[in-house]
Amino acid sequence: MTFKERIAKKAAEQLVPCSIINLGIGIPTLVANYLDKDAYYLHTENGLLGVTSVAEEDIDPLLVNAGKLPVGEAAGASYFHSADSFSMIRGGHIDVAILGALQVDSKGMVANWAIPGKDIIGVGGAMDLLVGAKKIIITTNHVAKDGTPKFVKECTYPVTSTRQADILITDLAVFHWKNGRYELTELMGDTSLKDVEENTTAFYKVSEQLLEKRR
């Protein structure tokens, strides 16, 4: 299992059966592989509730997800136009959105649409999802490709919303937003608390349960 798959699997474990879920591009897309297809309903903002995987030979070029990748149509699926689709999102009818991020900070802010100094020419549904979904799970590498922390004290990249992400899952650890701060609740694989500490500039608390377990 790659680290991306481990993150995706961990994200899948956070989900309650019968939930309506929107998966972002990248690691979030992998989450579908760890879900019981009949027990979860996947929404894609370009206009489909009931996304499922598709066999190579059944690919339909006019049936894609928000990442413009070919997908299949689950039993009981429905299509709708973009305003209806975003009404579902903005109106609070999506239970969970699982998204990637460039940065997440101590205050729970997420930056995942623009990099300073680069052209800001795309946002897609990121802002609507972050504002509208009932629960936000962020899945990401703990550090950027150049080794700098992505879980930071305060976002230096433009934020996507003023709403906190509920859960942050990285290749090193799982954090839950609780009482106004993130709590580290679980370490991934053989990661140590020290590993997390050295790769994080954000403020977070280690959960009592986890400390208890480690004693």
């Binding site: 894609v64 975003f86 903005r90 795309g122 946002v123 509208g132």
Partner: protein, 231 residues
């Protein structure tokens, strides 16, 4: 007296005038009116403002018009899908207005529905709300967004009857029904023109009152990319 809105791409594209604002359907190339865009590349209207989620892809769909330097401005949510857009923008040859995708969709619907503006929480506190009016409603901050309207809409549907009733195909529906409601003149390209008795009144997505002209698709998106078909 029986109404018949069928036309040809070449004929009906003349409705587009230099300086016009156009809505163009499609999420990338999916549900994009490729035949009408192709006709537009051979028509001389320029200085266009395009309201479309993307500016196609590099050299495809609306990307063709960009290369022809026919676009003054683009309004959409995700221009990243055409890597050439950034270059034109940085060279000062193309204005961009970026909106969150939900706000973009809702603004088009508002344009079609006679709504003068609406309040959304999306983008509040972000760079995309900079300079926009906000309002505190029941303790939460909302940003005011304005409706989008156009002179002409180029949309893509699956089937039409002669009156202009439309149904769509899978995720090729996307922005098309919204744009059908928000332009002065609406041209729909379709795969198939059917007898009106073949469309169930319960399943029609775009009622005919929104559609001014129908054109049969010549360019379609297949697994092998955009191909020309015989019609």
């Amino acid at each position: 007296m029986v109404i018949n809105k069928i036309s040809t791409a070449e004929q009906v594209i003349m409705k587009v005038q230099t300086g016009d604002t156009l809505m163009v359907g499609g999420f990338g190339l999916v549900g994009s009116p490729l035949t009408l865009i192709d006709a537009l590349t051979r028509h001389d209207a320029g200085n266009l403002t395009i309201i479309s989620n993307n500016v196609g892809e590099a050299g495809k769909g609306l990307g063709l018009l960009l290369r022809q330097d026919r676009l003054k401005k683009a309004v959409g949510s995700y221009f990243t899908s055409n890597r050439e857009v950034a270059k034109w923008y940085n060279d000062g040859l193309l204005e961009l207005e970026l909106l969150p995708q939900g706000t973009f969709s809702e603004a088009i619907r508002a344009g079609g529905a006679g709504i003068g503006g609406f309040y959304t929480k999306t983008a509040v506190g972000t760079d995309l709300a900079a300079g926009k009016e906000t309002k505190l409603i029941d303790g939460e901050t909302y940003v005011l967004e304005k409706p989008l309207k156009a002179n002409v809409a180029l949309i893509r549907a699956w089937k039409a009857d002669l009156k202009g009733n439309l149904i769509y195909y899978k995720t090729a529906r996307n922005f098309n029904p919204l744009m059908a409601s928000a332009a002065d003149y609406v041209i729909a390209e379709v795969d198939e023109i059917v007898d009106e008795r073949d469309l169930s009144p319960e399943e029609i997505v775009t009622p005919h009152l929104y559609v001014d002209a129908i054109v049969e698709s010549r360019l379609i998106l297949t697994r092998e990319g955009v191909v020309e078909r015989d019609i």
